[in-house]
Amino acid sequence: MAAFITVSKRPILGLPFLLPSCDSVSLELRRSQSSYRRTKQRLRVKPDASFGLSSDKTQDHIIYNPPSSSPSVYHTPTKFLPSDDIRRSLRTDTTADHLNTEGLPSVLKSPLGKKYHLGPSDITEIRKLRLGDPITWSRSKLAKRFDCSPTFVAMVCEAGPQKKEIQKQVLEAVQSRWGAKRRMAREDRKLRKETWGRDE
């Protein structure tokens, strides 16, 4: 920091944060004063460990420091290789990316687990309830009662024609209130989701 103060040619009163009395908080808020020397100093980063010679190896070695990017899809994961493929034995322990899979957080909040706890009697019950009173017994309510997912309810039974008609009208009423911006944003979102599957 001492060098920083001496380099400044501007009157010291115009830069109150350079005064010795200023505390650390005001020092963080100062404008950055770029100079050639300071820029060079900041760019002088420590090289990657693989660049230099390691202590135990005195001979030349190959520097392998690939840029960070997604792995190539043409590089078949070891698990997907057929049992008689020679690459399966070559890749046993040489691959570097040993991730501690237990320590990584899951993407989904609740752990995905299938219970398979519903029997045929429960499924007939779900169908009866949904067809009998579709307004009360919606998919989410049925899912909550039978402790399954709404997707499972949809797989098991379909809503009645009246309920479908009502739902369609509700959707139309909601969509009629959308302006151009919201409609376009929703369309864009749908198009963007389609690009995920095409990997664009």
Partner: protein
Amino acid sequence: MKRLQLQRWSSSALSSRARTGGRLQRHLYSSNRFQSTNPTPLQSEADQSFAEEPSIPSTTTPSPKFTKYQLPSPPIQAARESAKLAALHARLYLPSRLPLETLARCLVDPSADSNSQFNNVPLAVLGHDLLTHYTSEHLICTYPRLPLTVIFAAMFAYAGPKTLMAMAREWGLEHAAAPGGEVDPGFLQFKRVAPGTDTNAEPLIGTTRPNEDQKTWRKSITSSVVYDNEFGDPDMAGVPSSESSESAIQTQYTEGVTVEQASASFVRALMGAIYLHAGRPAAKRFFEQHILSRHLEIANLFSFNQPARDLSRLCARENYEPPVAKIISETGRKSRHPVFVVGIFSGQDKLGESVGASLAEARTRAAVAALKGWYLYSPLNVRVPSSMEEKGAAPWKPVYVDLGEVIV
């Protein structure tokens, strides 16, 4: 095993007019030359006599039955005089056993000359079969797990008419404005479609698929193997010639063809001509140099609707642990531009990894990467069945055959 001498039994595809090297024809030429007092070479006799005929009624040169202007396509004698044709032959580095006359015949589309003894239809049929055969065996042996839709798309990308047209354009092939006997045989001879014609106007009739008039019926991709052509498109040529009337074919040709169709049939005919004149190794080399050398990114042909579901079905089928998406690293979760790196794991093994601006996006993309990793598996030291036709080939080892794509 001795190599087959293809030229001997290839006369069905090559008309007598095209085989100028024949002993009988050479004999006829030389006798004509002795009789004639005209010192010009015989090949230019036709146009010379046409030019001179009104002024000098010559008795020595027999007056030709047809003038060049009456012929639908250039006469075979003109092939030796065309600089364009010779240049095309040299530019493509074609084998010297392929004569210029056959190259000239490859350039005559059936829309210009409906006589199959003079147009390129027989050669194009053979060439199309060779091209699609070599392409499909290359694709299936190199990527044994590809889904059928991707195979069809890749076939179209390698040997489809659009690619063949691009190749012909890159070769510097020029098109004749209108076909005729007086045109330089180095031009592609075809009758053009009248401007403003809607090519997709009429419904497809005469395909090999049963119940083709039912528009609402589902067409499964597996049925395309049986009923459709090599690219998964409706197959028109599969109808036996006895059923399709000759007049329908005639009207189709007289209406004209597009540049794309004419260029594609030229490239196919050239492939067939190389096969007939120079043999199988030369045809294979031509295919590798001009078709397989084109770069195709097969990974970009995929399109998944529900990759996460497909992947979980795949893992269930192959008895792997169910796939779990986990966050490998992330930055800026609460900011405007967050980046998440999500990997999909099955037990301890990572199946795929990708980046996304949201957790859902990164998870979907990682599932896509895992599925592509499965489908784009390629064995080492790939050999195709047609490599066994070479002399002294190593004993055949069965190629890897996969169960098939994931069906949900």
